[in-house]
Symmetry: C2
Subunit: 232 residues, 2 copies
C-alpha cells in the first residue's frame, strides 16, 4: 500500500509535537575549577539562590536541563551550564565531590527525586537544600533524609493568608501568630502523614482529623492573644 505524501507530512508533525524533550545538543563542557555550591535547576528558584550567592561573592556551578532556559538566563549575564543533573557523570564533571552544598532546585518531581537519590548515594558528605513541589514531593525528599526541604509555594501562600486576615480586620500581630501556628501544625502533620502517604483513604481520614486539630490550635492561639492583650 502506498502511503500518501500528506500522511507522511502529518506523521512528521505528530512526531515533532510528541517528541520527548531529550537533548538536542550536547551537554556543555563544565569548568575545571570546583565550587562550594552546585545548583541543579536554574529556573525561578535556582536563579534567586544564585543571584544572592553571586552578590555575596560566593561562586557556584549551575546546571539546567532545559537548553532554551540556559540561553535565556545567559542573556541576562548569569552563568549556567546546559546539562541534566540526574546523570552521575555530570555530577562528577561538576565536581560535586569537592562541593559543600547541593541546591536541588529542579521543578520536575521525578527528575528531582532521581537526582536526590544519586547525590545521597554517591556524595553523602554534601549537604542538600531542596525545593519541593508539593506534600508528596516533600515527603519523598524526607524519606531520603533531606531535612532542609521547602514546599515552593507554601511561604507565599501563608503571606497571602496573612494579608487576607488583616484585610478582614484581624490585628496584624494576631494574623502573624495564626499563620505561624498554621505553618508549625502543617509541618507536624506532614511528618506524621509520611508513613501513610501511599494510602489515600488513610490520608483523607488523617487530613480531616488534622483539620479539626488545626482549628483548635488556632483557637487556642487566638484566646491566648486576646488574654495577653493586643500587641503584647
Amino acid at each position: 500500500m502506498a502511503v500518501s505524501p500528506l500522511l507522511l507530512l502529518l506523521g512528521d508533525r505528530i512526531a515533532e509535537a510528541t517528541r520527548s524533550k531529550g537533548p538536542v545538543r550536547a551537554f556543555d563542557e563544565l569548568p575545571v575549577h570546583s565550587s562550594d555550591v552546585v545548583i541543579a535547576g536554574f529556573g525561578r528558584v535556582g536563579q534567586i539562590v544564585g543571584r544572592l550567592l553571586l552578590a555575596r561573592g560566593v561562586s557556584f556551578t549551575a546546571l539546567d536541563a532545559d537548553a532554551g532556559q540556559v540561553d535565556t538566563v545567559r542573556r541576562f549575564g548569569l552563568k549556567v551550564f546546559y546539562g541534566d543533573a540526574a546523570h552521575l557523570d555530570l555530577l562528577h564533571a561538576a565536581q560535586l565531590d569537592k562541593a559543600k552544598v547541593f541546591v536541588l532546585a529542579i521543578d520536575d518531581v521525578e527528575a528531582s527525586l532521581r537526582t536526590a537519590e544519586l547525590v545521597r548515594k554517591h556524595f553523602p558528605h554534601v549537604q542538600i537544600v531542596a525545593r519541593a513541589r508539593n506534600r508528596f514531593h516533600a515527603s519523598r525528599l524526607m524519606d531520603l533524609g533531606i531535612e532542609r526541604q521547602i514546599r515552593e509555594t507554601l511561604p507565599s501562600s501563608l503571606e497571602m493568608a496573612r494579608w487576607t486576615l488583616e484585610l478582614l480586620h484581624e490585628p496584624p500581630a494576631l494574623a502573624e501568630q495564626l499563620v505561624n501556628r498554621f505553618a508549625r501544625h502543617d509541618a507536624e502533620v506532614l511528618a506524621r502523614q509520611q508513613a501513610i502517604s501511599h494510602d489515600e483513604s488513610k490520608l483523607i481520614q488523617s487530613s480531616l482529623e488534622a483539620r479539626e486539630e488545626l482549628a483548635q490550635v488556632l483557637e487556642e492561639a487566638r484566646v491566648a492573644f486576646t488574654r495577653k492583650g493586643r500587641g503584647g
Copy 2:
C-alpha cells in the same frame, strides 16, 4: 480527492491531543449565601489560604476551572465550586459584590490577568490579594493597581538561599540580614523596571546594573553587621 480513513483517524487523534481544555461539564451552581472572601484558583496556593480561613472560622467561596482538581480537593473535604473566575457572570454568581477580599490564586498567567482586570473593573471596592508566577506577571498585576501581590516561589527561594549561606558558615543573623536586604532590593528593582518591562535589551541592561548595585547593598550590610559585632 478522497481522504483515506487512516488520515481521518489520524486527524481525530491530532484534534484530541490539541483540543483546548474547555469545560466538559456545566459549571456548578453556586451557593445562595455570600462570603467575605472569594478565592479564585483552588490549587496549592488557594487551598492553603482556604484551610487557614476555615480553621479560623471564616467562610469563603472557592472557584476552580479544573474539574479534576475540584473533585480531588472535595475528596479531602474542602468545599470548592467548578467554574472559571475569568467570566463576569460567575463572579456575580459568587456574589463578589458582597465580598471584602478576592484571593487571586490562579496559576495560569493569562487567566489570572483576565480575571484581575474583570474584578478591578466591575468590583472596584473589593481588595485583591494576588499570586504572581514571575516578575512579568507581578509587573502586570501592579499595572492594574494590585499592590498585594507575591511571586509564588520567591519566599521559598530566599529560605533556600538562607540555608545555603548558613551551611557555608555565615552567622545566622547575618544570613538573615543579607536575605532581607536582597528581598528589599529585588522589590525596588521590580518597581523600577516596570516601565521598561516590554523592552528586553533595556531590561537586560537594567538587570546587570541592578546586580552590581545589589552586591554593594549586601557588602554594606555585611560591613555594618561585622562592625556591630555578631549577633547584635
